[in-house]
Amino acid sequence: MRKLKYIAICFWALTSGLLNAQQTPAPEQTSPITIKGATAHIGNGSVIENSTIVFQNGTITAIGGPEVATQGTLINAQGKHVYPGIIAPTKSLGLVEVNAVRASDDQDELGDVIPHVRSLIAYNAESKVVESMRPNGVLIGQITPQGGRISGTSSIVQFDAWNWEDAALKTDDGIHLNWPNSFRRGRWWMGEDRGWKPNKEYSAQIDELKTYMVNAMAYGNGANSSNNQGFKAMQGLFDGSKKLYMYANGEKEIIDAVTVAKESGVKNVVIVGGYEAHKIIPFLKQNNIPVLVGQPHALPNAEDDDYDLPYKLPKILAEGGLLVGIQNQDMSNFQTRNLPFYAGHLVSQGMDKEKALQLITGNSAKILGIDQEYGTLENGKSATLFISEGDALDMRTNQLTHAFIDGRDISLETHQTELWKRYSEKYGQ
């Protein structure tokens, strides 16, 4: 009954704004808020039952059990669950609205090696796809250019903003490099069959990359008369202010990628994909390489692979002692709202729920380099979190009542909930 009333109010409140693309961003937090009684899933593997979380001015100021004093507005979350905002790495959210409509697609610029191309300035803070992330708890994303060899420079944003400047959490955080494959698919459009065959250009392609890296490094060493935007963009890799995201799946490719990056003086390397990373865990550990592994909702790459290899791969890597996060780069952007369920799926493979949660929160924040403020529910960190009626990793119980970004109480309505309410109302449901 309460729910019905709530729906009715919302419906009334929203009918006037139906044609607006995006919910109005929430205002700054002005007074303290306390969430009490919920099971707090910290995002670092631990959990606090019957928790109290206090935040003000966008920052968590106290977290603990029932003993922590309430301040300001009280949200009674007895029986509910609190989670840190989920983080979506390597996505082009806000860069493309409708995949098939070319005019709405800004994710892949012409050119093969274009590190200077920046996603942030094209990020559409009012994207309907972006807002549809929030009701599932996905609140932060790494907005990433796609395609080519070096696709460009990403930035990390939060998902409730007036414009890209508002949205930015970390500007120009990383450069994304699609490592070549030692095998390539047949060019079926030219009459070849689709099967994988050796890529004769693999060495040459690696060599091109090495040459580019060496030149970028040399450019940074001296006073340059020329103004090379590409080389300039690369400098952050050598001084450690940017990370290099290397997309590679094969064992050989991962080893090659890491080796070349290290030899080229790149300070921070992240492997994205890592389908065969489980075969070289010691190598990755030794080189201190985190992995943003592909989502479990995927088919095995090879016919003879275990049917559940994608299901259990993140678990194998995490148990091997690697720093692991989950991304779904090869899926459509709208799928990113399923991040909590990717983590949930790992639990069916025997992974601990809190550890699974880490792969989409605390670990991702560490890998993206935003863990000082985001990714876990800890004192002093940003109050970017959400409250769910039940277990947020299971689709049946992922029912959000509140979500906060930097303490701002954001709307959980979307274009989609509006249509839902409008038509439910039409049929008197």
Partner: protein, 985 residues
């Protein structure tokens, strides 16, 4: 110059043998040669099963006069003594394109597909060319003929290998000398068909295998109609087809499953094709045998893959590696099972490979008599030429081989290949065998010379002490020319000498590096030493991997069998009014659910402790594109004539993966390339069974329709096909339904009628016998199709995708149509802008039968999770959510009396889950269909282990093959494609 004289001489000689007597002659005078040629003292194979020791073959005028033990030799005979030698009928290759130039590929104009035919006065489809007469394109190719003769072939059947209906072929003897008048044995040796389009036309239709099948069927129906005089216009294609209908029909099917497809078409029209197979018949031998067809079998056994790079080996599937191991057993398996077949060089790069490949088959136990039959008497029979070819009985063409011994022995040398009485020397039989070891002395030095290898083209090794001298040996007309190089000084020694008729030594002249000449003598010191080639022939037959069902990774050693089972203490999701029952037993007997209750007695069934587990009906996916070889026939805006049932692929690994996700039944829908798509295949995922056994018995009949962006080709460059707008889509439907109505009325009136498969199918819709599942997105088009259906007095059965169904849920309810939708997909096309994950819940609450489907090989294996999303989005109860992937799709598919819930009497299509089936934490532990367990978590573990072991074993065998000097090729992945609605293949 010398060569030229020889050629001229043979030319003249043979012309006198077979001249056309009524032709005038101006370059000389007409003379006749009526002499006989007698080959005596030979071992003569008159036929593969009739061997005559010390026999005689007598020929005259290109024909066999007599053959046998006691042949009286006329006085005017040239006698050739073949003491110690063998005579065989020469080989016949029934499937080549000898002497026929490859047709040129049509140039494209623009990117838009071409829908019309490019010809006038012929059939409406360019790929149907029964009128093509290959004789008109034939040009005898001497060079190629020589290659075939060297491989033992004397007669070839040839045609233009291009198109679906390819016209007639030519049977030709490899007679270089007498011109087409003599060498052409048949100028219409048969009619030829395949599933492959012609390269000479860019006409789009058919774009798929199932389209090619439908086209062949319609071609026959049209020929029948034409033959009965019902057509006023002239169609030269159909006229040719009708005229040639008594010729033998050859069908290039090219794979084990396509053999069955071709045979099925033949059966429908009372044609028994001679089928050109693909080489994997051994995998389906029972079905192959059941076709009762004769086959032409290529022996292009795959080479081993070079797996020295372990990173590369991973791109190979077990299936591919097994094919290398197993394919050479194909001829033996066919022979053992009594399937009549001829062998062919088809698919080999050159005829010279034939011998090696055939040897491989012998290593696998292929019987040599059967092999000889497959190269002589069987092809002669398949070509209807037993009166002329295949044996050396009197009256037949004098096409035979002279060899040094048993023809299939590796060491045997083929000396001569006689065609129509003309002699063609492959290796001279009069040359002495010089293989052996020699001491070559010259200028005070003695070199060791070892001569080995082929008797006609021996190789030499020269050494002195430890030093080896790279050497080159030429041997012809009894002249030995040997040169060798001292690598230290880079000096070349050259010798030449003639081998005397008697004695075992030879001598001649040696040219020293400084130009000085001296004499040398080579003294034989011993017999031939064993060479590497010989070792190879003694190599052991490789260990044969067992065939599994299906014969790919995760196939079972034997087809899984039905079991009686009692599930004890499960949480049973009945999907019926009974709801979900705690601690309940379910008894399965003879493939059916027989009892549901508490404390049931096993009555001989295997008890399975299911406490803490959940038992549900198997998941049903209303919209799937796995397990099919093609999905769209995109060549026309309607393709009702095609059916996915024609192209079910029972070996798709996604069947197994779906089972592991709890799926037991799927509808394989045609894609959405056109407003009226093709017919569905509704199958059970019986992993290991053949294609036809997957399809439901008495399957409900369905057809795919589609609306919106895909059918109007919005998202790719194509502007030439109607419709390009939603307005046009309606007109396509109205037009087709009107025509189908007229067609049906005419049919029912009993008047003669051109059988039109497309109209037959559309009429079934109007008559309520076939149901539509329509791909749909936006509300306008959904409403439109309902109105069109109402206008024609039938109901749309299902809207699939139906992402704006929630906007017209009331209208859908009123029309009585169901909805099968995605849980949460949107934003990929403009028409899914308003797609919302609440769609399923709103439709269901409005009273529409609602299902959640996949359209995706990945999502289909976790449809339980997709159903659970309707709890989140729209607040469905768990029971109702579960129905969206079980009983509701069963209702939509008219299968709800058979499957979809746990109810006594229904098929035991069940899944045992580790946890609550809607939970993201659950996984299937057992999936069964009709009481047969097709997926079992424990068995899966064993299969993984077996795959690993077998891959290791095969990799090692391939490495050995490489290290032993065998041929290898680069690893290359399988040509596998994943389908969605939009996939045009």
């Amino acid at each position: 110059m010398k060569k030229l004289t020889v050629a001229l001489f043979t030319g003249l000689l043979s012309m006198s043998l077979v001249a056309q007597e009524y032709f005038p002659k101006n370059d000389g005078v007409k003379e006749k040669n009526t002499n006989y040629t007698a080959f005596t003292n030979a071992t003569v194979y008159v036929s593969p099963t009739k061997k005559i020791n010390n026999g005689t073959l007598l020929i005259q005028d290109g024909k066999v006069v007599a053959s046998g033990k006691s042949v009286s030799i006329p006085k005017n005979s040239v006698i050739i003594d073949l003491e110690g030698k063998y005579i065989y009928p020469s080989f016949i290759d029934p499937y080549t394109n000898f002497g026929i130039e490859k047709p040129k590929r049509a140039e494209g104009q623009g990117r838009s597909p071409e829908y019309g035919a490019s010809r006038e006065g012929f059939y409406w489809n360019d790929h149907i060319m029964p009128e093509r007469n290959s004789m008109e394109r034939f040009k005898y190719d001497k060079k190629n003929a020589e290659e075939f003769r060297a491989a033992g072939f004397g007669t070839l059947n040839t045609h233009t290998m291009d198109g679906i209906a390819r016209g007639t072929g030519v049977l030709v003897a490899l007679n270089d000398d007498d011109g087409d008048a003599a060498r052409i044995i048949e100028d219409e040796s048969g009619q030829y068909f395949s599933f492959e389009k012609s390269v000479t036309s860019r006409q789009s239709y058919p774009t798929s295998l199932m389209g090619a099948m439908a086209l062949l069927r319609q071609m026959h129906w049209d020929a029948d109609w034409y033959e009965k005089g019902n057509v006023d216009t002239k169609d030269r294609s159909l006229e040719a087809l009708i005229e040639n209908k008594n010729l033998i029909s050859f069908f290039e099917a090219g794979s084990k499953d396509n053999n069955l497809r071709a045979d099925k078409i033949g059966d429908q029209f009372n044609i028994q094709y001679v089928i050109v197979g693909g080489g994997q018949e051994y995998e389906l031998i029972e079905d192959i045998k059941a076709t009762n067809a004769s086959y032409i079998i290529p022996i292009n056994f795959p080479d081993a893959y070079d797996v020295s790079d372990p990173y590369a080996a991973k791109y190979l599937t077990l299936e591919q590696m097994r094919a290398w191991n197993q394919a050479p057993m194909n001829p033996k398996t066919l022979a053992d099972n009594g399937v009549p077949f001829a062998l062919t060089t088809f698919e080999l790069k050159k005829p010279a490979e034939f011998k090696d490949k055939l040897n491989r088959a012998f290593e696998y136990g292929f019987d040599k008599t059967k092999a000889l039959e497959a190269l002589t008497t069987v092809p002669a029979r398949l070509l209807g030429a037993t009166d002329k070819l295949g044996t050396l009985e009197p009256g037949k063409h004098a096409n035979f081989l002279i060899t040094s011994g048993d023809i299939f022995d590796k060491k045997t040398t083929l000396y001569e290949n006689w065609v129509q009485g003309n002699k063609y020397v492959v290796n001279t039989k009069d040359q002495k065998d010089i293989r052996g070891n020699y001491a070559l002395s010259a200028g005070g030095k003695t070199y060791d010379v070892k001569i080995s290898g082929d008797v006609a083209k021996p190789k030499a090794k020269v050494s002195m002490g430890d030093v080896e001298y790279p050497a080159k040996l030429e041997y012809s007309d009894n002249w030995v020319t040997l040169s060798f190089t001292d690598e230290k000084t880079n000096q070349v020694f050259r010798t030449t000498g003639i081998v005397p008729r008697d004695g075992s030594n030879f001598s001649g002249r040696l040219l020293l590096p400084d130009g000085a000449e001296t004499q040398y003598t080579a003294t034989r010191t011993g017999g031939e030493t064993e060479t590497e080639d010989d070792k190879d022939s003694t190599a052991k037959k490789p260990e044969l991997m067992p065939i599994t069902y299906p014969n790919v990774g995760y196939g079972y050693d034997a087809k899984p069998r039905q079991q009686d089972m009692l599930f004890k203490n499960a949480t049973v999701w009945t999907g019926e009014d009974a709801g979900t029952l705690a601690n309940t037993d379910v008894l399965v007997k003879d493939g059916k659910i027989v009892e549901i209750g508490q404390n049931l007695r096993a009555r001989g069934a295997t008890e399975i402790d299911a406490s803490g587990k959940h038992l549900t009906a198997g998941i049903i996916d209303e919209h799937s594109h796995i397990a099919a070889l093609s999905i769209n026939e995109a060549g026309h805006n309607s393709s009702a004539e095609v059916t996915i049932e024609d192209v079910v692929d029972p070996e798709d690994i996604n069947i197994y993966r779906n089972l592991a996700g709890g799926v037991t039944s799927i509808q394989i829908l045609h894609g959405s390339a056109n407003p009226i798509g093709g017919r569905s295949a509704i199958i059970k995922l019986k992993w290991g069974e053949g294609a036809d056994d997957l399809i439901y018995d008495n399957s409900p009949k369905f057809i795919k329709f589609a609306l919106g962006e895909n059918v109007k080709q919005s998202n790719w460059e194509s502007y030439s096909r109607f419709p390009q707008t939603r307005m046009g889509v309606e007109q396509v439907f109205v037009n087709y339904f009107n025509r189908a109505k007229e067609y049906d009325q005419k049919k029912k009136s009993g008047k003669p009628l051109r059988y039109d498969e497309e109209m037959e199918v559309v009429a079934e819709i109007l008559n309520g016998e076939r149901f539509i599942s329509c791909h749909s997105y936006v509300q306008s088009e959904i409403n439109m199709l309902m109105k069109v259906a109402e206008q024609f007095d039938f109901n749309v059965n299902t809207f699939t995708h139906i992402l704006e169904g929630y906007k017209v849920a009331d209208k859908m309810k009123e029309h009585g149509v169901g909805g099968s939708t995605f849980s949460d997909w949107w934003a990929y096309k403009y028409e899914v802008n308003d797609a919302i994950p609440y769609n399923a819940a709103i439709m269901a609450k409005a009273g529409v039968v609602t299902a959640i489907n996949s359209d995706d090989a990945e999502m289909s294996r976790r449809l339980n999770q997709e159903a659970a999303k309707t709890v989140k989005y729209g607040g469905m109860s768990e029971e109702e959510a579960w129905k969206m992937v079980t009983i509701n799709p069963a209702k939509l598919l008219h299968l709800d009396t058979r499957v979809g819930s746990i109810k006594e009497g229904k098929d035991a299509d069940l899944v045992l889950w580790s946890d609550h089936p809607l939970s993201v934490y659950a996984k299937p532990e057992k999936t069964m269909i009709e009481g047969t367990v097709y997926f079992d978590l424990e068995k899966d573990k064993m299969l993984r282990q077996k795959i690993k072991e077998e891959r290791n074993k095969l990799e090692k065998m391939m490495l050995d093959e490489k290290n032993g000097g065998g041929k290898t090729r680069e690893p290359k992945g399988k040509d596998k494609q994943y389908f969605h609605c939009e996939t045009i293949n």
